[in-house]
Amino acid sequence: MVKVLIPSGALGLGYSRDALARGIEAGPDIIAIDGGSTDSGPHYLGTGTSKYSRNSTKAEWRELMAARAKAGVPLVIGTAGTCGADDAVDWLAQITREIAAETDERLKLAILKSGQNPEAMAAAFEAGRITALPAAPEVTAETFRACTNIVALAGAEQINAALDTGADIIIAGRTTDTAIIAALPLARGCHPGGAWHGAKIGECGALATTNPNSGTILIAFDDTGFTMTPMADDARATPRTVSAHMLYENSDPFILYEPGGHLDVTGASYIALDDRRVRVEGSVWVPSDRYTVKLEGARRAGFQTVSLVLVREPRYVANIQSWCADIGARCTAKARQRVEGAFSIELRVIGRDATLGALEPGDGSGPEVGVLGIVTAETEALSLEVAKILNPYLLHHPLTEDEEMPTFAFPFSPPEMPRGAVHEFCLNHVLELDDPMDAFRLEVEEIGT
Protein backbone atom coordinates (compact mmCIF):
# COMPACT_ATOMS: atom_id res chain seq x y z
CA MET A 1 0.00 0.00 0.00
CA VAL A 2 1.16 3.53 -0.80
CA LYS A 3 -0.36 6.49 1.04
CA VAL A 4 -0.24 9.87 -0.69
CA LEU A 5 -1.04 12.96 1.36
CA ILE A 6 -2.40 15.89 -0.65
CA PRO A 7 -2.41 19.09 1.47
CA SER A 8 -4.61 21.09 -0.92
CA GLY A 9 -5.55 21.60 -4.56
CA ALA A 10 -2.65 23.96 -5.15
CA LEU A 11 0.11 25.68 -3.21
CA GLY A 12 -1.30 29.09 -2.31
CA LEU A 13 -4.93 27.98 -1.94
CA GLY A 14 -4.69 27.26 1.79
CA TYR A 15 -5.76 24.27 3.87
CA SER A 16 -6.89 23.39 7.36
CA ARG A 17 -3.82 23.08 9.64
CA ASP A 18 -5.62 20.47 11.75
CA ALA A 19 -6.35 18.40 8.67
CA LEU A 20 -2.73 18.58 7.55
CA ALA A 21 -1.55 17.56 11.05
CA ARG A 22 -3.92 14.60 10.99
CA GLY A 23 -2.56 13.66 7.58
CA ILE A 24 0.99 13.59 8.93
CA GLU A 25 -0.15 11.36 11.83
CA ALA A 26 -1.61 8.94 9.26
CA GLY A 27 1.93 8.11 8.14
CA PRO A 28 2.01 9.05 4.44
CA ASP A 29 4.67 7.71 2.05
CA ILE A 30 4.83 11.01 0.16
CA ILE A 31 3.32 14.50 0.26
CA ALA A 32 2.26 15.78 -3.17
CA ILE A 33 0.87 19.16 -4.13
CA ASP A 34 0.11 20.92 -7.37
CA GLY A 35 1.69 24.31 -8.03
CA GLY A 36 -0.31 25.64 -10.94
CA SER A 37 -2.40 25.24 -14.06
CA THR A 38 -3.25 27.10 -17.25
CA ASP A 39 -6.56 28.21 -15.75
CA SER A 40 -5.47 31.75 -14.94
CA GLY A 41 -4.49 32.47 -18.50
CA PRO A 42 -1.46 32.78 -20.76
CA HIS A 43 0.35 35.61 -18.93
CA TYR A 44 2.10 33.27 -16.49
CA LEU A 45 3.51 30.88 -19.09
CA GLY A 46 4.20 33.80 -21.42
CA THR A 47 6.35 35.51 -18.77
CA GLY A 48 7.49 32.48 -16.73
CA THR A 49 6.04 33.97 -13.54
CA SER A 50 3.81 32.89 -10.65
CA LYS A 51 0.24 34.00 -10.07
CA TYR A 52 0.47 33.80 -6.28
CA SER A 53 2.34 36.27 -4.09
CA ARG A 54 5.90 35.34 -3.14
CA ASN A 55 5.15 35.91 0.56
CA SER A 56 2.05 33.68 0.55
CA THR A 57 3.88 30.99 -1.37
CA LYS A 58 6.82 31.10 1.02
CA ALA A 59 4.55 30.98 4.09
CA GLU A 60 2.65 27.91 2.86
CA TRP A 61 5.72 26.17 1.46
CA ARG A 62 7.49 26.66 4.80
CA GLU A 63 4.60 24.86 6.56
CA LEU A 64 4.68 22.02 4.04
CA MET A 65 8.44 21.69 4.41
CA ALA A 66 7.95 21.46 8.18
CA ALA A 67 5.24 18.83 7.68
CA ARG A 68 7.63 16.91 5.42
CA ALA A 69 10.37 17.00 8.06
CA LYS A 70 7.95 15.63 10.63
CA ALA A 71 6.72 12.86 8.33
CA GLY A 72 10.24 12.07 7.08
CA VAL A 73 9.02 11.46 3.51
CA PRO A 74 9.54 13.22 0.17
CA LEU A 75 7.60 16.38 -0.65
CA VAL A 76 6.86 16.88 -4.35
CA ILE A 77 5.33 19.83 -6.13
CA GLY A 78 4.30 19.78 -9.80
CA THR A 79 3.85 22.74 -12.15
CA ALA A 80 5.83 24.94 -9.78
CA GLY A 81 5.21 28.68 -9.95
CA THR A 82 1.80 28.47 -11.69
CA CYS A 83 3.13 27.72 -15.18
CA GLY A 84 6.01 25.29 -14.61
CA ALA A 85 8.37 27.22 -16.90
CA ASP A 86 12.07 27.06 -15.97
CA ASP A 87 12.08 30.60 -14.52
CA ALA A 88 9.11 29.76 -12.30
CA VAL A 89 10.84 26.58 -11.11
CA ASP A 90 13.96 28.61 -10.27
CA TRP A 91 11.74 31.06 -8.35
CA LEU A 92 10.36 28.32 -6.09
CA ALA A 93 13.78 26.66 -5.78
CA GLN A 94 15.20 29.96 -4.49
CA ILE A 95 12.34 30.25 -1.97
CA THR A 96 13.11 26.68 -0.88
CA ARG A 97 16.81 27.46 -0.37
CA GLU A 98 15.88 30.50 1.73
CA ILE A 99 13.57 28.45 3.95
CA ALA A 100 16.15 25.67 4.38
CA ALA A 101 18.73 28.25 5.43
CA GLU A 102 16.29 29.97 7.80
CA THR A 103 15.18 26.74 9.46
CA ASP A 104 18.67 25.25 9.61
CA GLU A 105 17.81 22.16 7.62
CA ARG A 106 20.13 20.26 5.31
CA LEU A 107 18.10 18.86 2.45
CA LYS A 108 18.53 17.14 -0.88
CA LEU A 109 16.60 19.07 -3.54
CA ALA A 110 15.78 17.61 -6.96
CA ILE A 111 14.67 19.99 -9.68
CA LEU A 112 12.89 18.68 -12.78
CA LYS A 113 12.81 21.15 -15.67
CA SER A 114 10.12 20.98 -18.35
CA GLY A 115 11.10 23.97 -20.50
CA GLN A 116 11.70 23.34 -24.19
CA ASN A 117 13.96 25.12 -26.63
CA PRO A 118 11.71 26.82 -29.23
CA GLU A 119 14.19 26.12 -32.02
CA ALA A 120 14.35 22.42 -31.10
CA MET A 121 10.55 22.27 -31.03
CA ALA A 122 10.38 23.90 -34.48
CA ALA A 123 12.75 21.18 -35.72
CA ALA A 124 10.68 18.44 -34.03
CA PHE A 125 7.57 19.86 -35.70
CA GLU A 126 9.25 19.80 -39.11
CA ALA A 127 10.38 16.21 -38.41
CA GLY A 128 6.77 15.17 -37.79
CA ARG A 129 7.21 14.42 -34.09
CA ILE A 130 4.62 16.97 -32.95
CA THR A 131 0.93 16.36 -33.65
CA ALA A 132 -2.19 18.40 -32.98
CA LEU A 133 -4.83 17.58 -30.37
CA PRO A 134 -8.55 18.34 -30.97
CA ALA A 135 -9.29 22.10 -31.30
CA ALA A 136 -5.59 22.91 -31.66
CA PRO A 137 -4.77 26.17 -33.41
CA GLU A 138 -3.03 26.07 -36.79
CA VAL A 139 0.73 26.14 -36.28
CA THR A 140 3.87 26.31 -38.37
CA ALA A 141 7.51 25.93 -37.32
CA GLU A 142 7.45 29.72 -36.89
CA THR A 143 4.77 29.42 -34.17
CA PHE A 144 7.22 27.48 -31.99
CA ARG A 145 10.00 29.99 -32.60
CA ALA A 146 7.67 32.84 -31.57
CA CYS A 147 6.92 31.33 -28.16
CA THR A 148 8.44 33.05 -25.12
CA ASN A 149 8.03 29.75 -23.22
CA ILE A 150 7.22 26.21 -24.25
CA VAL A 151 6.79 23.50 -21.62
CA ALA A 152 6.21 19.77 -21.92
CA LEU A 153 3.92 18.12 -19.37
CA ALA A 154 5.85 15.48 -17.44
CA GLY A 155 4.16 12.25 -16.43
CA ALA A 156 4.84 9.62 -13.79
CA GLU A 157 8.11 8.43 -15.38
CA GLN A 158 9.86 11.77 -14.97
CA ILE A 159 8.58 12.26 -11.40
CA ASN A 160 9.84 8.78 -10.54
CA ALA A 161 13.24 9.63 -11.99
CA ALA A 162 13.31 12.57 -9.58
CA LEU A 163 12.15 10.39 -6.66
CA ASP A 164 14.87 7.87 -7.50
CA THR A 165 17.52 10.46 -6.64
CA GLY A 166 16.48 10.07 -3.01
CA ALA A 167 15.60 13.76 -2.80
CA ASP A 168 13.75 15.15 0.21
CA ILE A 169 12.06 17.78 -1.91
CA ILE A 170 11.22 17.64 -5.60
CA ILE A 171 10.34 20.80 -7.46
CA ALA A 172 8.98 19.90 -10.86
CA GLY A 173 8.24 22.18 -13.78
CA ARG A 174 5.12 21.54 -15.81
CA THR A 175 3.61 18.14 -15.06
CA THR A 176 0.15 16.74 -15.59
CA ASP A 177 -1.98 17.45 -12.51
CA THR A 178 -2.09 13.74 -11.75
CA ALA A 179 1.54 12.68 -12.30
CA ILE A 180 2.87 13.83 -8.93
CA ILE A 181 0.23 11.72 -7.15
CA ALA A 182 0.29 8.65 -9.41
CA ALA A 183 4.09 8.34 -9.66
CA LEU A 184 5.00 6.62 -6.39
CA PRO A 185 2.04 4.17 -6.38
CA LEU A 186 2.98 3.18 -9.96
CA ALA A 187 6.65 2.75 -9.04
CA ARG A 188 5.67 0.48 -6.15
CA GLY A 189 3.47 -1.71 -8.34
CA CYS A 190 0.00 -0.51 -7.31
CA HIS A 191 -2.94 -1.01 -9.69
CA PRO A 192 -2.20 1.36 -12.62
CA GLY A 193 -5.85 2.25 -13.33
CA GLY A 194 -6.34 2.90 -9.63
CA ALA A 195 -3.16 4.98 -9.45
CA TRP A 196 -4.19 7.36 -12.23
CA HIS A 197 -7.84 7.46 -11.21
CA GLY A 198 -7.02 8.20 -7.56
CA ALA A 199 -4.58 10.87 -8.74
CA LYS A 200 -7.30 12.57 -10.78
CA ILE A 201 -9.71 12.46 -7.83
CA GLY A 202 -7.03 13.85 -5.51
CA GLU A 203 -5.51 16.51 -7.73
CA CYS A 204 -7.74 19.25 -6.32
CA GLY A 205 -7.36 18.18 -2.69
CA ALA A 206 -10.64 18.23 -0.80
CA LEU A 207 -12.63 19.46 -3.82
CA ALA A 208 -13.93 15.89 -4.19
CA THR A 209 -15.37 16.00 -0.64
CA THR A 210 -18.30 17.74 1.05
CA ASN A 211 -15.94 20.47 2.37
CA PRO A 212 -13.67 21.65 -0.45
CA ASN A 213 -12.03 24.40 1.65
CA SER A 214 -10.61 21.92 4.15
CA GLY A 215 -7.89 21.06 1.64
CA THR A 216 -6.19 17.95 2.91
CA ILE A 217 -6.98 14.39 1.85
CA LEU A 218 -5.17 11.06 1.99
CA ILE A 219 -5.39 8.51 -0.80
CA ALA A 220 -4.26 4.95 -0.12
CA PHE A 221 -3.35 3.01 -3.26
CA ASP A 222 -3.08 -0.79 -3.45
CA ASP A 223 -3.20 -3.80 -5.79
CA THR A 224 -6.84 -3.36 -6.83
CA GLY A 225 -7.74 0.32 -6.50
CA PHE A 226 -7.68 3.18 -4.01
CA THR A 227 -9.39 4.52 -0.91
CA MET A 228 -9.94 8.23 -0.39
CA THR A 229 -10.10 9.69 3.13
CA PRO A 230 -10.60 13.40 3.89
CA MET A 231 -8.38 14.56 6.74
CA ALA A 232 -10.68 17.29 8.09
CA ASP A 233 -13.27 16.33 10.71
CA ASP A 234 -16.03 18.15 8.87
CA ALA A 235 -15.28 16.77 5.40
CA ARG A 236 -16.80 13.61 4.00
CA ALA A 237 -16.07 11.73 0.79
CA THR A 238 -19.12 10.05 -0.70
CA PRO A 239 -19.45 7.98 -3.88
CA ARG A 240 -21.13 11.00 -5.41
CA THR A 241 -18.50 13.63 -4.44
CA VAL A 242 -15.74 11.31 -5.66
CA SER A 243 -17.29 10.16 -8.93
CA ALA A 244 -18.53 13.67 -9.78
CA HIS A 245 -14.95 14.95 -9.63
CA MET A 246 -14.22 13.22 -12.95
CA LEU A 247 -16.39 15.98 -14.47
CA TYR A 248 -14.15 18.74 -13.19
CA GLU A 249 -12.21 20.71 -15.80
CA ASN A 250 -12.22 17.61 -17.97
CA SER A 251 -13.84 17.57 -21.41
CA ASP A 252 -14.53 13.80 -21.20
CA PRO A 253 -15.71 12.49 -17.80
CA PHE A 254 -14.58 8.89 -18.46
CA ILE A 255 -11.28 9.19 -20.32
CA LEU A 256 -8.13 11.00 -19.22
CA TYR A 257 -5.06 11.15 -21.45
CA GLU A 258 -1.65 11.00 -19.80
CA PRO A 259 1.90 10.49 -21.09
CA GLY A 260 2.13 6.85 -22.19
CA GLY A 261 -1.55 5.98 -22.28
CA HIS A 262 -5.01 6.84 -21.03
CA LEU A 263 -7.24 6.16 -18.06
CA ASP A 264 -10.73 4.75 -18.64
CA VAL A 265 -13.09 4.93 -15.66
CA THR A 266 -16.23 3.76 -17.48
CA GLY A 267 -16.33 0.56 -15.42
CA ALA A 268 -15.25 2.04 -12.08
CA SER A 269 -17.23 1.30 -8.94
CA TYR A 270 -17.49 3.79 -6.08
CA ILE A 271 -18.33 2.21 -2.72
CA ALA A 272 -18.87 4.01 0.61
CA LEU A 273 -16.71 2.23 3.23
CA ASP A 274 -18.38 4.30 5.96
CA ASP A 275 -19.89 7.79 6.05
CA ARG A 276 -16.64 9.52 5.08
CA ARG A 277 -14.38 7.16 3.11
CA VAL A 278 -14.82 5.92 -0.46
CA ARG A 279 -13.30 2.87 -2.13
CA VAL A 280 -12.81 2.86 -5.90
CA GLU A 281 -11.96 -0.13 -8.10
CA GLY A 282 -12.43 -1.14 -11.71
CA SER A 283 -10.68 1.72 -13.51
CA VAL A 284 -8.45 0.69 -16.38
CA TRP A 285 -5.11 2.04 -17.63
CA VAL A 286 -4.65 1.58 -21.38
CA PRO A 287 -1.00 1.96 -22.47
CA SER A 288 -0.39 3.64 -25.83
CA ASP A 289 1.98 2.54 -28.61
CA ARG A 290 3.76 5.87 -28.71
CA TYR A 291 5.06 7.79 -25.68
CA THR A 292 3.91 11.37 -26.05
CA VAL A 293 3.92 14.42 -23.79
CA LYS A 294 1.62 17.38 -24.19
CA LEU A 295 3.12 20.76 -25.06
CA GLU A 296 1.98 24.18 -23.90
CA GLY A 297 3.33 27.35 -25.42
CA ALA A 298 2.63 31.03 -25.11
CA ARG A 299 3.73 33.90 -27.26
CA ARG A 300 3.44 37.65 -27.08
CA ALA A 301 0.31 39.06 -28.69
CA GLY A 302 1.00 42.79 -28.57
CA PHE A 303 0.76 45.34 -25.80
CA GLN A 304 -2.42 46.53 -24.19
CA THR A 305 -3.74 49.66 -22.50
CA VAL A 306 -7.23 49.74 -21.04
CA SER A 307 -9.47 52.64 -20.01
CA LEU A 308 -12.71 52.52 -18.07
CA VAL A 309 -15.47 55.12 -18.28
CA LEU A 310 -18.81 54.98 -16.47
CA VAL A 311 -21.99 56.13 -18.17
CA ARG A 312 -25.08 56.93 -16.09
CA GLU A 313 -27.10 59.38 -18.26
CA PRO A 314 -30.20 57.37 -19.28
CA ARG A 315 -30.23 58.38 -22.95
CA TYR A 316 -26.59 57.35 -23.34
CA VAL A 317 -27.15 54.11 -21.44
CA ALA A 318 -30.07 53.32 -23.77
CA ASN A 319 -27.97 54.00 -26.88
CA ILE A 320 -24.64 52.74 -25.59
CA GLN A 321 -23.96 50.32 -28.45
CA SER A 322 -24.25 52.98 -31.15
CA TRP A 323 -22.20 55.40 -29.01
CA CYS A 324 -19.43 52.79 -28.80
CA ALA A 325 -19.62 51.91 -32.49
CA ASP A 326 -19.36 55.59 -33.43
CA ILE A 327 -16.37 56.15 -31.13
CA GLY A 328 -14.67 53.00 -32.38
CA ALA A 329 -14.96 54.08 -36.02
CA ARG A 330 -13.99 57.72 -35.49
CA CYS A 331 -11.11 57.05 -33.12
CA THR A 332 -9.67 54.31 -35.32
CA ALA A 333 -9.76 56.63 -38.35
CA LYS A 334 -8.14 59.49 -36.44
CA ALA A 335 -5.44 57.31 -34.89
CA ARG A 336 -4.58 55.85 -38.33
CA GLN A 337 -3.77 59.38 -39.49
CA ARG A 338 -1.63 60.12 -36.46
CA VAL A 339 0.34 56.96 -35.63
CA GLU A 340 2.32 54.32 -37.51
CA GLY A 341 1.86 50.63 -36.76
CA ALA A 342 -0.83 48.02 -36.17
CA PHE A 343 -3.39 48.48 -33.41
CA SER A 344 -6.99 47.62 -32.58
CA ILE A 345 -9.59 49.36 -30.45
CA GLU A 346 -12.39 47.44 -28.78
CA LEU A 347 -15.09 48.88 -26.54
CA ARG A 348 -16.83 46.43 -24.23
CA VAL A 349 -19.99 47.50 -22.47
CA ILE A 350 -19.96 46.34 -18.88
CA GLY A 351 -23.53 45.89 -17.71
CA ARG A 352 -24.68 44.88 -21.20
CA ASP A 353 -22.66 42.12 -22.87
CA ALA A 354 -19.05 42.48 -21.73
CA THR A 355 -18.97 38.90 -20.44
CA LEU A 356 -20.60 36.90 -23.22
CA GLY A 357 -20.39 39.25 -26.21
CA ALA A 358 -22.46 38.10 -29.19
CA LEU A 359 -23.56 34.99 -27.25
CA GLU A 360 -25.38 37.08 -24.59
CA PRO A 361 -28.99 35.83 -24.45
CA GLY A 362 -30.41 38.65 -22.29
CA ASP A 363 -31.13 42.34 -23.04
CA GLY A 364 -28.81 43.57 -20.25
CA SER A 365 -30.84 46.59 -19.19
CA GLY A 366 -29.73 48.41 -16.05
CA PRO A 367 -29.27 51.97 -14.78
CA GLU A 368 -25.60 52.30 -15.67
CA VAL A 369 -22.94 50.75 -17.82
CA GLY A 370 -19.18 50.79 -17.83
CA VAL A 371 -17.32 51.01 -21.10
CA LEU A 372 -13.98 49.24 -21.13
CA GLY A 373 -11.76 50.53 -23.89
CA ILE A 374 -9.12 47.99 -24.91
CA VAL A 375 -6.30 49.09 -27.17
CA THR A 376 -3.97 46.35 -28.37
CA ALA A 377 -0.97 47.39 -30.43
CA GLU A 378 2.38 46.14 -31.63
CA THR A 379 4.36 48.26 -29.17
CA GLU A 380 3.74 49.49 -25.64
CA ALA A 381 4.23 53.13 -26.70
CA LEU A 382 1.73 52.78 -29.54
CA SER A 383 -0.83 51.14 -27.28
CA LEU A 384 -0.65 54.07 -24.83
CA GLU A 385 -0.63 56.61 -27.65
CA VAL A 386 -3.82 55.22 -29.21
CA ALA A 387 -5.45 54.95 -25.77
CA LYS A 388 -4.74 58.66 -25.29
CA ILE A 389 -6.33 59.38 -28.66
CA LEU A 390 -9.33 57.38 -27.45
CA ASN A 391 -9.58 59.34 -24.20
CA PRO A 392 -11.34 62.51 -25.43
CA TYR A 393 -14.02 60.34 -27.03
CA LEU A 394 -14.70 58.43 -23.85
CA LEU A 395 -14.82 61.72 -21.95
CA HIS A 396 -16.98 63.87 -24.21
CA HIS A 397 -18.34 62.09 -27.28
CA PRO A 398 -21.96 63.17 -28.02
CA LEU A 399 -24.57 60.70 -29.24
CA THR A 400 -25.70 63.13 -31.93
CA GLU A 401 -24.08 66.18 -33.47
CA ASP A 402 -26.70 68.69 -32.38
CA GLU A 403 -26.35 68.37 -28.63
CA GLU A 404 -24.26 69.92 -25.93
CA MET A 405 -20.96 68.23 -25.18
CA PRO A 406 -21.58 65.53 -22.57
CA THR A 407 -19.06 64.41 -19.93
CA PHE A 408 -18.77 60.90 -18.48
CA ALA A 409 -17.33 59.49 -15.29
CA PHE A 410 -13.71 58.40 -15.12
CA PRO A 411 -12.85 56.61 -11.87
CA PHE A 412 -9.10 57.28 -12.26
CA SER A 413 -6.54 59.84 -13.35
CA PRO A 414 -4.85 59.09 -15.64
CA PRO A 415 -7.64 56.97 -17.14
CA GLU A 416 -5.24 54.88 -19.23
CA MET A 417 -4.05 51.70 -17.50
CA PRO A 418 -1.14 50.10 -19.34
CA ARG A 419 -1.18 46.30 -19.08
CA GLY A 420 2.20 45.78 -20.70
CA ALA A 421 2.73 42.82 -22.99
CA VAL A 422 -0.17 40.45 -23.49
CA HIS A 423 0.33 36.81 -24.35
CA GLU A 424 -1.68 34.01 -25.89
CA PHE A 425 -1.59 30.22 -25.76
CA CYS A 426 -0.68 28.92 -29.17
CA LEU A 427 -0.06 25.17 -28.78
CA ASN A 428 -2.38 22.25 -28.08
CA HIS A 429 -0.10 19.50 -29.32
CA VAL A 430 1.78 16.40 -28.25
CA LEU A 431 5.47 15.65 -28.73
CA GLU A 432 6.63 12.08 -29.34
CA LEU A 433 9.62 10.95 -27.27
CA ASP A 434 11.90 7.90 -27.60
CA ASP A 435 12.69 8.04 -23.89
CA PRO A 436 10.47 9.82 -21.32
CA MET A 437 13.44 11.85 -20.02
CA ASP A 438 14.40 13.14 -23.49
CA ALA A 439 12.51 16.40 -23.06
CA PHE A 440 13.28 16.91 -19.35
CA ARG A 441 16.30 17.80 -17.23
CA LEU A 442 16.95 16.68 -13.69
CA GLU A 443 19.25 18.62 -11.33
CA VAL A 444 20.10 17.63 -7.77
CA GLU A 445 21.63 19.84 -5.09
CA GLU A 446 22.19 19.92 -1.34
CA ILE A 447 20.61 22.97 0.28
CA GLY A 448 20.58 24.51 3.76
CA THR A 449 23.31 24.44 6.34
Binding site: S40, P42, P134, A135, E249, D252, P253, A301, P361, F425
Partner: protein, 99 residues
Protein backbone atom coordinates in the same frame (compact mmCIF):
# COMPACT_ATOMS: atom_id res chain seq x y z
CA UNK B 1 -41.34 26.28 -21.73
CA UNK B 2 -39.08 26.32 -18.65
CA UNK B 3 -35.59 27.78 -18.35
CA UNK B 4 -32.92 25.19 -17.54
CA UNK B 5 -31.73 27.52 -14.75
CA UNK B 6 -35.16 27.07 -13.11
CA UNK B 7 -34.98 23.27 -13.35
CA UNK B 8 -31.39 22.32 -12.56
CA UNK B 9 -30.08 23.37 -9.11
CA UNK B 10 -26.60 24.02 -10.47
CA UNK B 11 -25.06 24.64 -13.88
CA UNK B 12 -21.28 25.05 -13.93
CA UNK B 13 -18.93 26.04 -16.74
CA UNK B 14 -15.16 25.69 -16.57
CA UNK B 15 -12.15 25.64 -18.83
CA UNK B 16 -10.93 22.18 -19.76
CA UNK B 17 -7.54 23.52 -20.74
CA UNK B 18 -7.12 26.72 -22.77
CA UNK B 19 -8.88 25.37 -25.86
CA UNK B 20 -11.97 23.62 -24.47
CA UNK B 21 -14.97 24.62 -22.42
CA UNK B 22 -16.97 22.15 -20.37
CA UNK B 23 -20.41 22.69 -18.87
CA UNK B 24 -22.00 20.45 -16.24
CA UNK B 25 -25.76 20.52 -15.68
CA UNK B 26 -26.34 19.09 -12.20
CA UNK B 27 -29.96 17.88 -12.23
CA UNK B 28 -29.95 16.43 -8.70
CA UNK B 29 -32.97 14.15 -9.23
CA UNK B 30 -33.64 11.44 -11.79
CA UNK B 31 -36.87 13.20 -12.71
CA UNK B 32 -35.17 16.47 -13.66
CA UNK B 33 -32.36 14.56 -15.35
CA UNK B 34 -34.80 12.66 -17.57
CA UNK B 35 -36.70 15.81 -18.40
CA UNK B 36 -33.61 17.76 -19.43
CA UNK B 37 -31.91 14.77 -21.05
CA UNK B 38 -34.97 14.12 -23.22
CA UNK B 39 -35.89 17.75 -23.87
CA UNK B 40 -32.52 19.39 -24.46
CA UNK B 41 -31.55 19.26 -28.12
CA UNK B 42 -27.82 19.31 -28.82
CA UNK B 43 -28.59 21.40 -31.92
CA UNK B 44 -30.24 24.02 -29.71
CA UNK B 45 -27.13 24.15 -27.57
CA UNK B 46 -24.95 24.52 -30.67
CA UNK B 47 -27.12 27.42 -31.82
CA UNK B 48 -26.76 29.19 -28.45
CA UNK B 49 -22.98 28.90 -28.74
CA UNK B 50 -22.97 29.86 -32.44
CA UNK B 51 -21.28 26.59 -33.35
CA UNK B 52 -22.06 23.33 -35.17
CA UNK B 53 -23.69 20.32 -33.51
CA UNK B 54 -20.69 18.21 -34.52
CA UNK B 55 -18.44 20.38 -32.34
CA UNK B 56 -20.34 19.44 -29.17
CA UNK B 57 -19.43 16.42 -27.05
CA UNK B 58 -22.36 15.43 -24.86
CA UNK B 59 -22.48 12.97 -21.96
CA UNK B 60 -25.81 12.18 -20.30
CA UNK B 61 -24.68 10.52 -17.08
CA UNK B 62 -27.71 8.97 -15.37
CA UNK B 63 -25.64 7.62 -12.47
CA UNK B 64 -24.84 11.21 -11.40
CA UNK B 65 -27.96 12.91 -12.80
CA UNK B 66 -25.55 15.11 -14.73
CA UNK B 67 -25.51 16.21 -18.36
CA UNK B 68 -22.06 17.28 -19.47
CA UNK B 69 -21.37 19.28 -22.61
CA UNK B 70 -17.87 20.04 -23.92
CA UNK B 71 -17.02 22.21 -26.90
CA UNK B 72 -14.05 24.13 -28.30
CA UNK B 73 -13.92 27.48 -26.52
CA UNK B 74 -15.78 30.29 -28.37
CA UNK B 75 -12.48 32.20 -28.10
CA UNK B 76 -9.23 30.58 -26.98
CA UNK B 77 -8.60 31.38 -23.31
CA UNK B 78 -6.80 34.67 -22.80
CA UNK B 79 -6.72 35.80 -26.43
CA UNK B 80 -7.74 39.35 -27.28
CA UNK B 81 -11.20 38.06 -28.21
CA UNK B 82 -11.70 36.17 -24.95
CA UNK B 83 -13.89 37.82 -22.31
CA UNK B 84 -13.93 35.30 -19.50
CA UNK B 85 -10.54 33.90 -18.46
CA UNK B 86 -11.92 31.01 -16.42
CA UNK B 87 -14.89 30.28 -18.67
CA UNK B 88 -17.13 30.69 -15.65
CA UNK B 89 -20.00 32.61 -17.24
CA UNK B 90 -20.86 30.37 -20.18
CA UNK B 91 -23.12 28.38 -17.83
CA UNK B 92 -25.55 31.33 -18.03
CA UNK B 93 -26.10 30.67 -21.72
CA UNK B 94 -27.17 27.11 -20.96
CA UNK B 95 -29.30 28.30 -18.04
CA UNK B 96 -31.30 30.52 -20.40
CA UNK B 97 -32.18 27.62 -22.75
CA UNK B 98 -35.83 26.59 -22.50
CA UNK B 99 -37.46 23.19 -22.88
Amino acid sequence: MTRLADMAPKIRSKNAGPFWLTIDIFCETAEVFTRISDGLQTAEMARAFATQTGQIKRFDIAALNVIKISLPRPAVQGTREDRDMHGASFAEIVGELRI
